[in-house]
């Protein structure tokens, strides 16, 4: 076993009655790492966090912290601290007492507590707020108090349960940067739970994609985006055109009436696979210069680019291009070998089709849903 | 998980024990005494004796219904007007409704009694004007007056609390769709305040049917209501068994009345929000 592993989950199962929430989760987390558990509502990411914090007992499997099994250690004896979804600040205590809460339990001297709280307030940019009431703080300030309160205890690992979900977009972006800075400054492990893929990609060293209580993929943000393991990961992270394809032979895939060269290897002749092509990797050209061609069915201006839906042999592709097209135009597409990612078939194959029923709203709706 | 629920149950257990001892057991006692005689032997005598009290029961229910209806007629507009007044005065006005509710029933009954007595302030005034005094106390009207006076706040409050929660936008929407004031009242406001009306009815009807001091003090014992008869069995004639069977029937009757009412209203909401200020 590697030396710098701080938390090791081994074959964790959790179920509530008939519902299996976590199904054989195994995951190790390195010291000083920023790791994100990413997935849709009900995928089990929060439950995983609660298993580590000690609020949920796994039905089977081991929770190992610094090489020691801590399954039976109650939450108040674990060297981890949590930032809760809605912060869970104590409404009857002021900012100072909230942050000092853990320190007082440890029976630190008044002087020590004062110094530590001041240090924490400085860390989260809330100097001069110590006498304030929790009720009088804005959402962003409450967030900072929650961070200070958790960090005051000097945890080895900080658990963050969708901490930014309640903030508006601008504040969320600022806090992302700030959290990352705090993590690097303190050099402790952050385990971050979110359903926001952008947040996960921009902050993490490692991303763990989960669905249905099962880990779908573990990897760096680049891995996850560029080399998704299955159709679920490809669909959940970013936009993607996912095609049902039969390999002509290794390095050669035929779809949409054209045989494409590709770089992914290890697939046999005639093997059924899923192919992912990201919308931004497709180059638009005239029909005669394209490898394949089709008719534009919708164009949406997105600011940085246009989102263009093209019908090719009945399959609706999404393309992101900086050039505007007109609905009804015939256009050609060029796809380079390194833009084609080939995946083995999985239970998710066929669940994510083309963009025929695509609308922005569906994405937003699923964003609003809350975990648990 | 297991441990948590166990300790939770432990916290509630004193209360559970208490409820069994002092809520359930006493009710079992009522049933036990109803079906036994003074020596503790099983008998149906007490139940048979109830037939003598048919009129008393009907009388009590009749008085209860009349008092409840009068309360409803007075209370609904009151609650409606309070709910429509300015927020600043509203809280004071509703406190003025609650104050008598929290003042001892004895004090309230007593204040009515002193007003309508033969030598009370009203009759003194009438005599001063040169008229004959009017017999007010010890009439059926006095009993009804006492019930209405004592329990009116119990009707106003639940209706008010439903009406304040009523979104004014609904009223505006109805007007917008072409409804006049009467239609808004009958089609929107009244149906939406049903749960308040129901809990108001419960809170007036139950104490009215079962009261004994109102009919004693204001009716002078001339209008035997079931509460008074029950009280008599326990306090003067010392016939616990008959008293128990009368109480049992009273309880069942009230349960039936409630069930009938809830059935006709088809209300799934809990009828609450009354007693709690």
């Amino acid at each position: 076993m590697e030396k710098d592993i701080i938390i090791d989950l081994k074959n964790i199962d959790v179920s509530y009655g008939e519902n299996k929430i976590l199904d054989n989760i195994s995951l190790y987390i390195r010291d000083k790492e920023f790791i994100t558990l990413l997935g849709p509502s009900g995928c089990g990411k929060t439950t995983t966090l609660r298993v580590i914090a000690g609020f949920t007992q796994p039905d089977c499997g081991d929770v190992i912290f610094n090489g020691k099994k801590i399954n039976d250690l109650p939450p108040y004896k674990r060297q981890v601290n949590t930032i809760f979804q809605k912060y869970a600040l104590f409404p009857h205590l002021n900012v100072f007492e909230n942050i000092a809460f853990g320190l007082r339990l440890k029976k630190k001297s008044d002087k020590e507590i004062k110094e530590r709280v001041a240090e924490m307030l400085e860390l989260v940019n809330l100097k001069g707020f110590s006498k304030r009431n929790i009720d009088s703080l804005s959402g962003g300030q409450q967030q900072r108090v929650a961070i200070a309160r958790a960090l005051a205890n000097d945890p080895k690992v900080l658990l963050l349960d969708e901490p930014l979900a309640a903030l508006d977009l601008k504040l969320r972006k600022d806090m992302q940067v700030e959290l990352k800075n705090i993590q690097q400054k303190l050099g402790i492990t952050f385990i971050f739970v979110t359903h926001d893929q952008e947040e996960a990609l921009s902050m993490s060293d490692t991303v763990v994609v989960m669905d249905n209580g099962v880990i779908q993929q573990i990897g760096t943000p680049q891995d996850i985006y560029n080399e998704p393991k299955n159709a679920f990961v490809a669909d959940f992270i970013g936009e993607s055109n996912i095609l049902d394809v039969v390999m002509k032979e290794d390095f050669r895939a035929r779809f949409s009436g054209h045989t494409f060269q590709c770089l992914d290897k290890g697939f046999g002749t005639g093997e059924a696979v899923d192919v992912v092509i990201r919308p931004e990797d497709i180059v638009v050209t005239t029909p005669d210069k394209g490898m394949i061609s089709g008719t534009v069915t919708s164009v949406t201006f997105k600011g940085v680019h246009y989102e263009i839906i093209v019908d090719i042999r009945g399959f609706k592709w999404m393309i992101q291009s900086i050039h505007e097209q007109q609905v009804g135009d015939e256009i050609g597409l060029v796809i380079e070998p390194d833009s084609i990612h080939i995946m083995k078939k999985s239970i998710y194959s066929g669940k994510f089709g083309d963009y025929s029923s695509f609308s922005d709203e569906i994405d937003h709706l699923s964003d609003i849903e809350e975990e648990e | 998980m297991e441990k948590k629920t166990l300790s939770a149950k432990l916290l509630a257990s004193p209360h559970i024990v208490w409820s069994v001892l002092f809520i359930i057991a006493p009710l079992i006692m009522v049933a036990y005494y109803s079906f036994t005689n003074a020596d503790g032997n099983f008998t149906l005598e007490n139940i048979k004796a109830l037939s003598d009290y048919k009129e008393v029961f009907l009388n009590s229910i009749w008085y209860g219904i009349v008092a409840t209806l009068i309360c409803l007629v007075i209370a609904y507009p009151t609650a409606y007007f309070i709910a429509r007044s300015k927020a600043r005065v509203q809280s004071t006005m509703i406190m003025l409704v609650m104050l008598p509710m929290w003042t001892s029933l004895i004090v309230r009954t007593y204040s009515i009694m002193s007003l309508i007595e033969n030598t009370g302030i009203i009759n003194t005034f009438i005599q001063k004007l040169g008229f004959e005094p009017i017999q007010m106390i010890n009439t059926s009207g006095a009993v009804i007056l006492g019930m209405v006076y004592d329990f009116l706040p119990f009707m106003i409050l639940p209706i008010y609390s439903v009406l304040t929660k009523l979104d004014n936008k609904l009223v505006e929407a109805a007007h917008d769709l072409g409804a006049d004031k009467i239609t808004v009242l009958t089609k929107i406001v009244l149906p939406l305040s049903r749960s308040g009306i129901l809990s108001g009815i419960t809170m007036v009807f139950v104490p009215s049917v079962s009261t004994f001091y109102i009919s004693q003090k204001l009716g002078g014992g001339n209008f035997a209501l079931v509460g008074e008869i029950i009280e008599g069995q326990f306090v003067t004639s010392n016939n616990f068994n008959l008293g128990a069977s009368l109480s049992l029937v009273l309880m069942v009757l009230i349960l039936i009345c409630m069930a009938v009412m809830n059935h006709f209203s088809g209300d799934e909401e809990e009828s609450s929000g009354g007693l709690m200020p």
């Binding site: 109650p74 939450p75 601290n81 809760f84 869970a88 104590f90 853990g102 339990l105 009720d135 009088s136 205890n153 | 300790s7 432990l10 509630a12 257990s13 209360h15 559970i16 208490w18 409820s19 002092f22 809520i23 359930i24 057991a25 006692m29 036990y32 507009p77 009151t78 007007f81 007044s85 300015k86 927020a87 409704v97 929290w102 003042t103 001892s104 029933l105 004895i106 004090v107 309230r108 007593y110 204040s111 002193s114 007595e117 030598t119 009370g120 302030i121 003194t124 006076y149 009116l152 979104d167 004014n168 139950v206 079962s210 004994f212 326990f234 008293g243 009273l250 309880m251 007693l275 709690m276």
Partner: protein
Amino acid sequence: MSTKMNVSSKIYLGLVYFFLYAPIIVLIVFSFNESTSTSVMSGFSFKWYGELLRDADTINAVKNTLLIAVVSSVCATVLGTAAAVGIDKMRNKYLRSAIMNTTNIPMMNPEIVTGISLLLLFAFSSQLLGIKNALGLHTLIIAHITFVLPYVILSVLPKLHQMDHHLSEAAMDLGCTPVKSFFKVVLPSIMPGILTGFIMAFTLSLDDFVISYFVSGPEWQTLPIRLFSMTKKRVKPDMYALSTLIFFVMLVLLMLINFMQARGDKKKEKDK
């Protein structure tokens, strides 16, 4: 819904309030009457209040009432708060609703039935135990705890419901044992509900007549019972004086409850 009121609705409200308050005000005014008349005011005096103070029975009843109210409301608050915490954590729907329904029986039942059912229980158990006179202070206290308990539970439960259930987890996360986290975090959060429940229990206990009437026995008179027995004789202004005193005590208590609830509401609004 609050809009402008027209004149006729103001008159209507005026009449209703007149109906509600005229009898009480008459009673208060005549409690200061110099003569024994309860219909002709002959002069202002505190004489009847003085007489009350010299009446040993009344003083005794006041003492009893206060003693019973304090003991039963404290017990009910402790018992009820613990019960509310337990009920709140219960996952078993049927057990939970069974407990709640039982708890609510004294609130739904006619008071006279609650009173006589307890009387029968006390009579039955004293017969079993061979005690001659079972009724007294302890039966009064038991009865009062029983009928005020639902009010305590019903004012604490919603506070537990509103409380962010992550709060106690947060406390444990920061190093509290479950017991400590209850006292340091949960209890302070539900304190307003507990206080409201306590004052309500206290008020209801002070006020109760019907239930006390049946379980008090001959030696233990509470104030409402004393008042009831006074009206058996001729009406005299000393009863008015006593009623007036009771009225004002209730006024103060009610204002206290209102004040606390207003404070709670203000806090809630701020939270939004």
